[in-house]
């Protein structure tokens, strides 16, 4: 029976009563999330209003949870959705399957699919959580959508390399893809590992299977 | 008088409930009602202290141990599961013994001397005295010198009724010693050995596997 310990405990709890409370009044006050937070998906547009998605299905292949379904279709001069040949005729993400890993974002050659910081998507039915293009695509009157570097809070400096390369605002850097879990920089078919110096050549361009 | 009749009816009904209930816990609840009614009866006789002790000792301590034991030992078994109804067989002798006890009790009540100043056990004068005693409640129940006060109770217990009181205490002491002997499992050395034994056993069993 350590009676002194009991009094110590009582003093501790009494002191804690006057400390600042850790509670955040959640629905009314929202906490700032990490700048690289992975939330609800969004399909972005170019500044001229064209859809970025070209229906290449790379995100569908990259998705580890099989949550993405893309069916592409050809653009025609009368019915043009994206600048390229093809566009996503249907684009569906099952948010209940999604693990919010961000692989789709990394796989996307045009930065069309991005993960926004939004996370409040509770609903009553399963069907309502299968998001189709009408829910994912940024409406034309709402601008182009959020690029990763435009998120609230910006990007932390030490993590900037990947995100900076990802940005299509720097056309000379090409685009970023992920190869076996390593961020790699490809430009004109050459593959580079990002290094502080700029990039180390990893491999020469390969011909695609059954190439032209 | 109306209070007395209601209490008497409650007492008898609950007493019948105690012996007629199939489920032991129902019997206990009936007995609890019985004790409570008895305590209120004491109150109407301005035996305040006795009523309180009745509640604290009998209802609060002893009867709750009944519940405890019933809850621990096969709570679900009712009297019906224990075999054929034996109540009918013992009915005739029980009625005879009960009637005899009633006659003796009635004789004792009618011929009991009413101790002056109201010794607590004089409260047995239920029949003729109840009216005046109820009237006494409104004056000053349980005050010093009044009927049924703690001082009077204590004096009666430790002077007039000292021998029965001490004898009863000895009977209870014997019961306690009996329980210790039965449940204690003998001398402390033997108990220690009994605790050590199960730890030693597995060692021997382990040997062949080596």
């Amino acid at each position: 029976m350590n009676i002194i310990a009991i009094f110590k405990g009582l003093a501790t709890t009494f002191g804690y009563m006057f400390r600042r409370k850790a509670t955040i009044d959640y629905p009314f006050v929202k906490r700032a999330h990490a700048s690289r937070f992975h939330g609800l998906h969004e399909l972005r547009r170019y500044e001229d209003g064209m859809e970025r998605c070209i229906g290449c299905e790379l995100c569908q292949i990259a998705c580890p949870a099989n949550a993405i379904t893309v069916i592409g279709a050809e653009n025609t001069p009368e019915d043009r959705h994206s600048p390229g040949e093809r566009y996503a005729f249907r684009y569906e993400i099952d948010e209940l399957r999604c693990i919010f890993c961000g692989m789709c974002e990394e796989a996307c050659p045009t930065d069309a699919i991005t993960l926004t910081p939004r996370f409040e998507m509770a609903n009553y039915t399963r069907n309502s959580l299968i998001y189709d293009k009408s829910k994912l695509l940024v409406p034309a009157e709402y601008g182009v959508g959020e690029a990763p570097h435009e998120r609230p809070g910006g990007l932390p400096a030490d993590l900037g390399e990947v995100a900076r390369i990802k940005s299509t605002m720097e056309p000379e850097r090409g685009y970023l893809a992920t190869w076996r879990g390593i961020d790699i920089l490809t430009s004109e078919g050459k593959t580079y590992m990002p290094t502080p110096a700029g990039g180390e050549l990893v491999r020469e361009p390969e011909k695609l299977k059954g190439g032209e | 008088m109306a209070v007395f009749v209601i209490l008497a009816v409650a007492l008898i009904a609950s007493a019948v409930g105690v012996i007629s209930a199939k489920n032991p816990v129902h019997s206990v609840v009936a007995l609890l009602t019985n004790f409570a009614a008895l305590a209120v009866l004491y109150l109407t006789l301005s035996g305040e202290f006795l009523a309180m002790i009745q509640m604290i000792v009998y209802s609060g301590a002893i009867l709750i141990l009944f519940v405890f034991v019933i809850a621990l030992l096969g709570a679900g078994t009712s009297v019906g599961d224990l075999g054929p109804n034996r109540l009918a067989k013992v009915m005739t002798p029980a009625v005879i013994v009960g009637a005899l006890a009633l006659v003796v009790l009635g004789y004792a009540l009618l011929h009991a001397q009413n101790p002056s100043g109201g010794g607590m056990l004089g409260a047995a004068t239920i029949l003729p005295g109840s009216q005046s005693q109820i009237a006494a409640v409104t004056i000053m129940p349980g005050a010093d010198g009044a009927f049924g006060s703690i001082a009077d109770f204590g004096r009666a217990l430790f002077t007039t009724y000292l021998l029965p009181f001490e004898l009863t205490a000895f009977v209870l002491l014997i019961a306690v010693i009996g329980v210790v002997v039965l449940a204690g499992g003998g001398a402390p050395e033997r108990r220690k050995a009994a605790i050590r034994e199960p730890i030693a056993k597995p060692k021997r069993r382990m040997e062949p596997t080596r």
Binding site: I6, G9 | V25, A75
Partner: protein
């Protein structure tokens, strides 16, 4: 004017007023407990219903009322339904004799009984029936275990509690609660009966089955103990009984050891006395909640050993010393 009323009506009015006060006090003790516990755990507690969450008890009551009242098929229906009422009945009955202040015509209580303290103990010793019968009648194992624990625990600690209070009775040489308060006009009994006071507050926590002695409803072992099977209003009744018992033992501690309504300038001012009384009772209630926020639950064998091997001998010693002192000097 008051004397003109018939006695039964006066008692009925007093009882009704007291009932409303006690139930309200219960509701806000519960809210205070949640708030204080939250503050001790760096949370803010209920704050959405009404300003600072002050209407939370009303919301809780509504929830309780509209919840389904289930009776398990294995339960004993009569006793299962009876048990919560026994618990609340015995909890409330104690207030029949508790005086709250001293007026011109006598203490402010429903009935000024000479054996007041005995009455309170007689009634609170009935409270264990509510718990033990509830556990037995539920017809499942966790409630049964909880109620068996409750019975053993409450009987064990009731002994030490009564012993600690007999010291006070000896010193005041009366069993009337208002008489005990009057006997403390020179010195509160907490000073000469300090050991008794310590034993009383420890056993009081155990008697009301609260942390660190809440083995009865140890949720990590017994789901919810004796009220596992109860739902809706019947569960609510147990809840009410627990908190009202808490208030009762706080009132008793105030009356027996802290001089009840006495305080600077309280003689002749019943309302000021009432204020002192309420402040003292609230201090005890806060202490209860504070304990709950601090201490972990005792192991069951330690609980019993503590009751029988520490508290009971100490209480007996205290009683013995008090008896000798009273016999020689009073």
């Amino acid at each position: 004017m008051i004397e003109a009323l018939p006695l039964w009506l006066l008692v009925a009015i007093k009882s009704l007023v007291l009932l409303i006060i006690v139930i309200t006090l219960f509701a806000y003790t519960m809210l205070a407990e949640r708030k204080v516990l939250a503050y001790m755990q760096l949370r803010v507690g209920p704050n959405k219903v009404g300003p600072w969450g002050l209407l939370q008890p009303a919301a809780d009551a509504l929830k309780m009322i509209f919840k389904e009242d289930l009776t398990p098929s294995s339960a004993d229906p009569l006793i299962y339904r009876l048990a919560p009422f026994i618990a609340v009945f015995t909890a409330l009955l104690a207030y029949a004799v508790i005086p709250f202040s001293q007026g011109e015509h006598g203490p402010w209580s429903i009935a000024n009984v000479n054996a007041g303290i005995l009455f309170v103990f007689a009634i609170t010793s009935m409270g264990v029936y509510g718990i033990s019968l509830a556990g037995w009648a539920s017809g499942s194992k966790y409630p049964l275990l909880g109620s068996v624990r409750a019975t053993a625990q409450m009987i064990s600690y009731e002994l030490a509690m009564t012993m600690s209070v007999i010291g006070v009775i000896l010193q005041a040489s009366t069993t009337s609660l208002s008489g005990i308060v009057e006997a403390q006009s020179r010195m509160w009994f907490i000073v000469p009966q300090f050991l008794g006071f310590l034993i009383y507050i420890i056993t009081a926590v155990a008697e009301t089955n609260r942390v660190p002695f809440d083995l009865v409803e140890a949720e990590s072992e017994l789901v919810a103990g004796f009220h596992t099977e109860y739902s809706g209003l019947r569960f609510g009744l147990f809840f009410i009984a627990e908190y009202i018992n808490m208030i009762t033992v706080s009132c008793l501690a105030t009356l027996l050891f802290l001089g009840g309504w006495s305080g600077p300038g309280s003689s002749g001012h019943p309302l000021l006395g009432l204020l002192y009384f309420v402040i003292k009772v609230f201090a005890f209630l806060f202490f209860y909640i504070w304990l709950r926020g601090t201490l972990p639950r005792l192991r069951y064998d330690r609980l019993m050993a503590f009751g029988w091997k520490v508290l009971l001998p100490l209480a007996t010693l205290n009683l013995l010393v008090t008896a000798i002192v009273v016999a020689l000097w009073y």
